[in-house]
Symmetry: C2
Subunit: 225 residues, 2 copies
Amino acid sequence: MSSVRVIQVQENVFAKNDREADRIRRTMTDQGTFFVNVMSAPGSGKTTFLTALINSMKDRYRIGEMDVDIESSLDAQRVADLTGVESLQIHNCGLCHIDADMTARALAGYDTKDLDLLILENIGNLVCPAEFDTGAHKNVMLLSVPEGDDKPLKYPLMFQVSDLVLLTKIDTLDYFDFDFEKAEERILALNPRAQVLRVSALTGEGMNSVKSWFEAEIAAVKTLE
Amino acid sequence: MSSVRVIQVQENVFAKNDREADRIRRTMTDQGTFFVNVMSAPGSGKTTFLTALINSMKDRYRIGEMDVDIESSLDAQRVADLTGVESLQIHNCGLCHIDADMTARALAGYDTKDLDLLILENIGNLVCPAEFDTGAHKNVMLLSVPEGDDKPLKYPLMFQVSDLVLLTKIDTLDYFDFDFEKAEERILALNPRAQVLRVSALTGEGMNSVKSWFEAEIAAVKTLE
């Protein structure tokens, strides 16, 4: 009996979250802002990647960034310093994820209405963030070569909810045993609609394809505005 | 009012968990088994490290291993195949951590009473596992060079609850910007009693110091038996 009650509570929590997420997504669509949620394990290179991406796009697009961390403001500061865009640090009080309600509260203090692209850098965690719709139009996740090609087998939900999977730090391939074909096969078995791209933010390899994906998504939101 | 109620519920959950954890710890002490909980981010090399450690100690000690994963049985199988010790896979149904109650249920199906060393390989996550006492005598966490030396600033609780912090994959240092002194300083600022060791499971560098730490802990539990 008690486990059934727990499941019921969880369903209610998720239903409430999904309603709030839909509301955020509608607002973003109405104002013509492509809102993207970027997830990965700790140390996959989210901040380095996002800094490189923002710098390659900021002359053509108005970009904003929100950064979730438990305590520090390191990442938001790094993004702001290295790109010049406005970056908002969200402290999530020790929680392991960000949900739509937390996103809404952050957005209440951040004027995003003129932005073409709003990036949410989620907390480094391959489990919990995958469970909560943040209100983003699309989910992007990074899997770095040093982490290993078996991660889709071990954290399936993260790969199932991601629209774009970036295999990152490909410049370190000589140093690690990582099989791209196996990784891609495992990702597509979980999520046949996922797009998988290989990239190094350090050398720039693959960054043009990633940029094209973002440009197409920004254009797609503008057509719905 | 509602947030105060939530905190109260959490306190009760943790108090119940702590009682169960203490019960597990007493049982392990009484039977002379050193029980250790090993945590890290995904892809830090827990399984490779544990395989090397077990192989270097299995001639002298009776060792068991329990492996937590969301869905797959990859790691338990790998440990069993590469070391020959009995390894138990725990599927935690999509949760992001393991608590004392889950540990107790796993132990109910696993005869550990003749073991000198029982290793719990926790799920790859730097947030949630740090919040739950599993009943282990000591916590060990791995931070790999590719993840970066800023992780103690971003996931402080994990470093606060760890007795031994292993800086792993030191063979990849030429490839990454990782400052050992900074990492150690940050860890000790959070947790002055932590022991910090540098290790490569691949080359074997530093493994003797780690082995000595485990041997001393096994001996310490035997004196309490």
